[in-house]
Structures are given as structure tokens and as C-alpha cells.
Amino acid sequence: MVAKIIQLILSPIIALVVGVFFLGLARKFMARIHWRYGPPIIQPVIDMIRLFYQKSVSHGRMFDLGIVLSLAGSIVVVLFLPLGGTAPLSGSGGMLVILYIMLLAPLGMAISGGQGANPNISIGISRKLILALGYEVPLLLILLAVMTHYKTISIVQVVNAQQSTTWSIISLPLFLSGLSYFLILPAILGIRPFDVSTAPQEISSGLMVEYGGKYLAMVTIEHAFVLFISIALFVNLFLGGAANPVTFLVKMLMVFMLGLCINAVFPRLRIKQAIKYLWKWPTLLAFLGLIVSLVIRS
């Protein structure tokens, strides 16, 4: 029981540290690609300390509660994910619960942004929800393919199955699903080619128009958690989720660097182009993956 409590406390902290490290790494990596020095790796930490000391503006009680709810939602999702051997809460609900709790964060942010009474925010939220619908279509097909292939809805069993046999991205049916998951990874993370919902130039950073000091810090922390969750989900489902946390984090770093390469070189898509792309190739691959895993299963 004590081990479980330690895991319960430890995994959000690991997620926060790794997420913030990824944010810092992303800015440094992008700078290096732009042929400039770039900020130190701990720049996001400096930004957050400054933001917490800076005063800010609130548009009402729901404006604050929404942010708190969205951060809480992200923290809870981390508890459900197995992080290399430790899976504190994954017993109570499996992948369906993860899928639905990932709803809490965007919903909380949307409600708090909505009260910000600014059309930039509303446009940002409507784009974010359309993009979410866009990448949910392939994501659901991928998750269903994995669940039908391993005939279970609990993610721990998926990880254990992969420990015994090979990584599922190498096994025949789920290779297509793994590939399509990687194609929609930038959309899930909300980074460059798909950051339509927080586009600084077009809709002056969409959702975050009215977020000042501590609100912006909370949003960056929540973004760090989302970064961690999406990549951890990918590693757990397709790269076999390691036995100990170290190899797990190494795999996550590898996947994140690949994702960053896409992020660094692509211009921002318009929302309609993003949807057209998301519903064309990744959905086709995910659909084929599902059909193949169904055929193999029956």
C-alpha cells in the first residue's frame, strides 16, 4: 500500500519535471535549428517563477476555476498511465477512462477562456475543438485497433503483453496504427504544424489572450503535462513501455525529438487544411490497422 502511495505522489512530479524539461529542450532545439543559441534549458522555469510573481487579471470565478480544473484533469491522467513499471491508478478503468479524462483539460480551459469575453479566445477554442475532433477520428481507430488486438481494455495488460512478445509497432497489424499515431502526434501535442488554436499572429495566441501572470504559468504547466501524457501514451501503446522508468524516459525523449523535427520545419496549417490532412492519411492507415487486427483476431 505504501508503495502505491509513493507511486501516486511520485508520478505527477516525474511528469512535471520531464514535461518542463521537454519544453525547455524544445525551445533550445528550435533555436539550434534556427542557427541561434537559444535560451538555457531551464528558461521555462524562469518564465514560470516570473509569472507567479506577476499580478494578473481575472474575468470572474469561472475564469479561475476552469484553469484549476484543466490542470487537475491533466494531473489525474498522469496517474492512470503506466510509467515504466509503476501504474498507480490504472486498475480502475483502463484506456476508456484515460480517453475520457483527457477531455477534462480542454473542457476546463475552454470554459475558463469562454468567460474571458474575447472573440480571439472564442475563435481559438472553436479551432481547438475542431482540431480535437480532427485528430480524435484516427486516434479512436488506433486505440480500438490496439484494444481489439490485445483483447483487453486495460493499458497495463497491453504493456505486459508487449513485454513478453515484441513491441506492438513492429507486430504486423499495429504497425499501421503506430505510424498513423505518429502522424497525428503534432496535432495531439498542439505544436507547430497544428498550433492553430494558439496562433500568436492570427488570433493573438487564441486561448491565452487574457491569461496574465499565474494563469499563464498554470497553462504552461498544463501544456507540459499534455506533452508528457501524449508521448507516454504512444510509448506505452506502441514501444512496449519499459520495465524501469529510465528506459521509459529515454524512449519518450526519442519520440519527442522526432516530433520536434516535424515541428521545426513546418509552417502553420490553416484549420481546414489541418482537418483535411488529419482525415485523409492518418485515418486511412488507422482504418487499415483496425481491419487487419480484426481479421487476425477472428
Binding site: 541561434r36 543559441y37 537559444g38 528558461q43 524562469i46 518564465d47 516570473r50 510573481y53 499580478k55
Partner: protein, 190 residues
Amino acid sequence: MDRNKITKWLKEPAKMANKYSLHAIYFCTGCGIIEIPPVITARWDAERFGVIPAATPRQANLFLITGYVSVKTLRAIIRTYEQMPEPKYTVGFGSCPINGGMYWDSYNTIKHLDKYIPIDGWIAGCMPRPEAIFIAVTHLWTLIDKEMANGYIRYRKNYESYRRNQELALGKLEWPPLYKASEEPQGNEQ
């Protein structure tokens, strides 16, 4: 550049964080904005010092007044300055915001900008090169260290006279006063 002195971080984290995370609001007020893109991109990379452009005044704490200020732009500048959260610093580019510069006798430009909003730092040069902008940033660090970059505190203390000057220059202002007359300023917290 005492960014990696841990002791200073532990002693006054607020001041250090303010120094090394200056987010400049990306608002082109005058002719000097053409100097900002080279400052941000590869050759002079301001992100080394933690200075990145912020999309909205709510997220920013540094306001660069680049070049001359026309009467119409002053309205937007005051509005943006008042929307920025509290520890905020402003830097004026060139001589036009100081005393009107070469537009000293023009009917349509604002002569002494610091009669309307407090300015913490000035950069000489009709349009200062990126190196001058970095000098301003480092100068701002020393000001923050010595707690002399208190433009926003001066603004809060003498708000009535600032507001009167703004109304003199712009006529009736559509937005209500930022600080009520009754609210006495809550001390000089940094």
C-alpha cells in the same frame, strides 16, 4: 549576467526572474519596429537573454516604444500599457519619444511621452541598432537590481496627473481610470 548564481536566485527569486524573463509585447508603435525582427531572429537572438515577443499585453512585462508617437497611437499605447500586469517596464527608442525629436514642431506627434506614461529606459539613435537594444536590456537588468525600474509604481502613485495629461492631449478617454482615486497605492512591493 548573473543568471546562474544560485545564491542570488534563492535570495530574491522575483527580481532575478523579472530580469531573465522579459517578454516584450509585439506592438509596432512607430518607425523603429523594423529593428525588432533582426533582434529576435538568428543573428542577434534576444532569446539568449530570455527576451521573446509576447502576443498580448496580458502576457508581457516589457513595452518597447519604437520611434515617434503620433496622437492617434498614444491612445492605443496608453490602453496597452494599462492592460499589462503589474511589474512592467517600458523602453523608449530614439529621441522622438523623449522630446519629439525631428517632429518637435509637428501638430500630430506627442512630444514628451513620459508626461503620459512612465518610461524606464531610453535608447539613443534614430533607430537604434540591435546592439543598442541589448544595451537597453542589460541596463534594465541593473535598474531592476537596484530597484530603480519603478515606472509602474510612479504610474500608480501619480495616476491623477498622468490621467489629466492624457485627457489634455487626447480629449475624452473611453476607458475608466485604472486606479480609483480612493485606492491608495499598496506600498512598493517589487
